[in-house]
């Protein structure tokens, strides 16, 4: 196992290098000029030229790439072309809301979706199963922002239980932190609950026909033991895979939810940086997201061995 993990970690280096070069090239080929954004749309051509020189954007693309890669090797992601803030601190200030929302969403998803899927799988086609699947279809079908607005209208504006928007750092108290996280978490969980419940249901139904389930029942095991100890564990590999993908996509940007609830997360930072053609910020974020995917894939692969000891690396 250990050599496998080392091998996988080392494999991230060429992957990240490729990502870095491709992202750099794509950004420079995309129309846009950070100097124009910095100076405003009334700026004269001469002023723009001066600003481009100051930013180093008048240099050949290869020179710019070399400078950036050199910075990267020194662990420096550069500074924002627009605000002058170091990219690391910009990302750092936006990570907490995103991670908080992602973790809360995944926890809520697992708590709700896995039992839903198992319950539905127990008697496929019966009322409970159909009810669960109806909720699941709704979760897939209703856009997150619609759920968000409905929650805000009901629980914030009408009942006054929760604030409409905003993020409160955990340093300012666990209470405000959780209070502001409730609505976005519920809104965002809808689609993930639907997805994980369906996967759980189909995986459990599949293993319920296996010989070892029949054996367990023949030995007189209770139905709950059969479901949880034998069926669910053996159905876990696809569930873990879907949850892993969910975590990665949550961390790499939930722009709509962050916008509806005004959370200053990474998703919004990506959009802002792209619209402003803030190259160093976009490059830093894409590198972070790529690394996140690599790391989560590795974690999921390791978890396979926990749930299914037959899997060996």
């Amino acid at each position: 196992m250990f050599p496998y993990v080392i091998k996988r970690v080392l494999a991230t280096i060429p992957v990240m290098t490729m990502v870095a070069v491709v992202v750099f090239a794509m950004l420079r080929l995309t129309p846009g000029d950070p100097a124009a954004i910095l100076a405003g749309d009334d700026a004269s051509g001469a002023q723009l030229e001066q600003i481009r020189r100051t930013m180093g954007l008048d240099q050949p693309i290869l020179t710019q790439l070399f400078v950036w890669l050199k910075q990267l090797l020194q662990g420096d992601l550069g500074v924002s072309l627009i605000s002058g803030t170091p990219v690391v601190s910009m990302i750092g200030s936006r990570v907490a809301p995103t991670i908080s929302l992602a973790l809360a969403t995944i926890v809520l998803t697992i708590i709700v979706a896995v039992p839903m899927g198992v319950v539905a799988a127990r008697r496929p086609g019966k009322l409970l199963d159909r009810t669960v699947m109806t909720f699941s279809v709704m979760g897939f079908s209703i856009p997150t922002f619609v759920i968000g607005y409905l929650l805000i209208y009901l629980l914030s504006l009408k009942l006054g239980w929760f604030p409409v928007q905003g993020y409160s750092p955990i340093e300012k108290g666990i209470g405000p932190f959780l209070h502001r996280l409730v609505l976005p978490t519920i809104a965002l969980s809808g689609i993930y609950v639907a997805l994980v419940a369906r996967i759980t249901r189909s995986s459990v139904i599949e293993v319920m026909g296996e010989d070892y389930i029949r054996t367990a029942r023949a030995k007189g095991a209770r139905e709950s033991t059969v479901l949880l100890r034998h069926a669910l564990r053996n159905a876990a590999v696809p569930i873990v895979t879907v949850i892993g993908i969910g975590v990665a996509s949550l961390i790499t940007g939930v722009v709509v939810t962050e916008s509806v609830f005004n959370l200053p997360g990474l998703g919004r930072l990506v959009v802002e940086a792209v619209l402003a053609r803030d190259y160093p910020v976009i490059q830093g974020l894409i590198l972070l997201f790529s690394f996140t995917y690599v790391l989560i894939n590795l974690t999921v692969d390791i978890l396979y061995t926990v749930f299914d000891p037959r899997i060996r690396y």
């Binding site: 129309p31 846009g32 000029d33 124009a36 954004i37 910095l38 100076a39 405003g40 749309d41 009334d42 700026a43 004269s44 051509g45 001469a46 002023q47 723009l48 001066q50 600003i51 020189r53 100051t54 924002s80 627009i82 605000s83 002058g84 803030t85 910009m90 200030s93 607005y149 805000i152 209208y153 914030s156 504006l157 009942l159 006054g160 239980w161 929760f162 604030p163 409409v164 928007q165 905003g166 409160s168 300012k172 108290g173 666990i174 209470g175 405000p176 959780l178 209070h179 916008s259 509806v260 609830f261 005004n262 200053p264 919004r268 930072l269 959009v271 802002e272 619209l275 402003a276 053609r277």
Partner: protein, 531 residues
């Protein structure tokens, strides 16, 4: 407070949740003297001399001060300084008023003002024009400085009191010595608010604290003139990408002010209790389209006139604004409501006259050369114009090719001097605030020096000569006379196509009062009327 109180009432059973809510009550009380404002976008660029962005300018008014201000009658008034002018009009002497201090406690000196003005004049259009007539700007002593001119001009006062992009903000000498092509990195001003750097999150939130050392003028506040009296401890600017969220937050008491309410959401604000919608900039903005004078088909004056005749302002404004309470048609290039505004040619500029457009196209021998029309889709206030323009041009007989993109790409494309068939453009539309468009230097569209002027690159030497005459004019009456001639030429030569004027309302909680009515967003004199 209200939110948490109601939460407790409705959810007594949720003891665990209730327990974690307790710390928030104290948090809310601590912010009682804080005004929370949702601004149109997130502040990222902090240098109001480098950037012409409106938000950066508003940030400038928070922490910096200007030597002169303008009141609602467009009269220049003393702000940081008073002035005298010699009999021949060639020597202005400015004297700083008492009590001016930088946020770091140091006194403001005349040398600070001199260096700040020089940096401003390097990049600002009015400043650049002024500098062609300046023989020297020099400090006389710590409190006064002189501007020596080669000839009399009103640009000294109009430039130093400039309202918007770019106002001549005064900075400490060490900061103002930053080259004008580089953003400043230290944010110390002498204005009524202090910038709280530790709490700044670019694009997300900006915090300003009351500058306790600021001594306001005694005169009543009017636009950027008069007393800037601060009645709050803190002003927080927050950014909300979703305007619906901003309105919900205002209704829920989480924010106090929204700088711009989208027209389609205005009914929600008007129907809500405890919220008032009000236009702060009563002059408003004008929208217009610009044609590329370098290449066919708009290198031909008759074709430009045809395009201007084809499009009707009412069609644009109905789609853009909808509610006639907030828009008006206007043919004046310098804006209706501005002292210099003149509506020459309004009869065919304001209304759509397809027959006239077709006749002009025929006379011009238009050969069907495609018109490349840039269409931004991500900014509501800029998305409607290309749709109406494209439709009107097609009806007149133009071949139109719409290029859809985000606004920042349009901004980049604006400077592209390639032919439309080689990645360039033929038409784009935008808008500007009227307060800065009322003179031929603040109005960017009236720079007509060919390739060195603003996007569109019109080459009309007569207008350039008149702009110089305007700079040399000694009285407002003379200026108006010249401005009328400039506007006539601008319409006849198809320099810019006015598409109408509109005013964007703000919204605020009725717990607050005193929001200054001005073409720029200001936060002095605002006070809380209820707890």
């Amino acid at each position: 407070m209200q939110t948490y109180g109601r939460f407790f009432r409705h959810a007594r059973a949720l003891l665990c949740a209730a327990a974690v809510m307790v710390p928030m009550a104290g948090h809310s009380v601590a912010q009682a003297e804080t005004l929370r404002a949702v601004m149109q976008s997130g502040l990222r660029v902090m240098d109001p001399i480098l950037s012409t962005a409106f938000l950066t300018r508003n940030h400038g008014y928070m922490i910096y001060d200007t030597l002169l201000g303008v009141d609602s009658d467009f009269k220049v008034q003393p702000q940081m300084a008073s002035w005298t002018v010699s009999d021949d009009g060639k020597l202005y002497t400015f004297t700083l008023r008492d009590g001016l201090k930088w946020h770091d406690g140091e006194p403001v000196t005349a040398e600070d003002a001199v260096v700040s003005l020089k940096r401003w004049a390097e990049v600002d259009t009015t400043g650049q024009a002024l500098m062609t007539m300046v023989e020297g700007i020099d400090a006389v002593d710590d409190k006064s400085f002189e501007i020596k001119l080669s000839q009399p001009t009103t640009l000294v006062l109009s430039g130093l009191s400039k309202l918007s992009s770019r106002p001549a903000f005064i900075m400490p000498k060490r900061i103002a010595e930053t080259p004008s092509s580089e953003p400043i990195t230290e944010f110390v001003g002498s204005g009524p608010f202090k910038f709280v750097e530790a709490e700044f999150q670019p694009g997300i939130s900006v915090v300003y604290e009351k500058n306790e050392d600021y001594v306001p003028r005694d005169e009543p506040s009017s636009w950027t003139a008069g007393g800037k009296v601060v009645n709050v401890d803190r002003v927080e600017w927050v950014t909300m990408p979703d305007q619906m969220t901003a309105i919900n937050a205002l209704q829920n008491g989480e924010v106090d002010f929204i700088q711009e309410v989208p027209f389609d959401l205005l009914p929600l604000v008007e129907a809500a209790d405890g919220i008032k919608a009000e236009v702060m900039d009563e002059l408003g903005a004008w929208t217009y389209f610009r044609m590329n004078h370098l290449y066919p088909p708009f290198d031909n004056k008759l074709v430009r006139q045809a395009a201007m005749a084809a499009v009707g302002q009412e069609d644009v404004l109905k789609l853009l604004v909808g509610n006639p309470e907030f828009y008006q048609t206007c043919g004046a290039v310098m804006g209706c409501g501005n002292p210099n505004g003149d509506e020459y040619g309004a009869e065919w500029v304001v209304n759509s006259d397809i027959e006239r457009a077709q006749s002009l196209l025929k006379e011009a021998g238009y050969d069907g050369t495609p018109v490349v029309l840039l269409q931004p889709t991500d900014i509501a206030m800029l998305a409607a114009q290309p749709i109406v323009l494209g439709d009107a041009l097609r009806k007149a007989g133009f071949t139109v090719e719409m290029k859809t993109m985000d606004w920042q790409t349009v901004v980049t494309q604006q400077g592209n001097q390639n032919a439309p068939s080689e990645g360039g453009w033929s038409i784009f539309s935008t808008y500007s605030i009227l307060a800065t468009s009322g003179d031929p230097f603040g109005n960017t569209t009236l720079s007509t020096a060919g390739r060195s002027s603003w996007a569109g690159w019109p080459d009309v030497p007569e207008i350039e000569a008149l702009r110089l005459d305007y700079a040399r004019a000694a009285t407002p009456e003379e200026q108006k006379e010249i401005a009328v001639k400039i506007q006539k030429l601008a319409i006849d030569e198809g320099v810019v196509g006015p598409l109408g004027q509109f005013r964007i309302p703000a919204a605020y909680s009725t717990e607050w009062t005193g929001f200054p009515k001005a073409p720029v967003t200001l936060f002095w004199n605002v006070q809380k009327t209820a707890e």
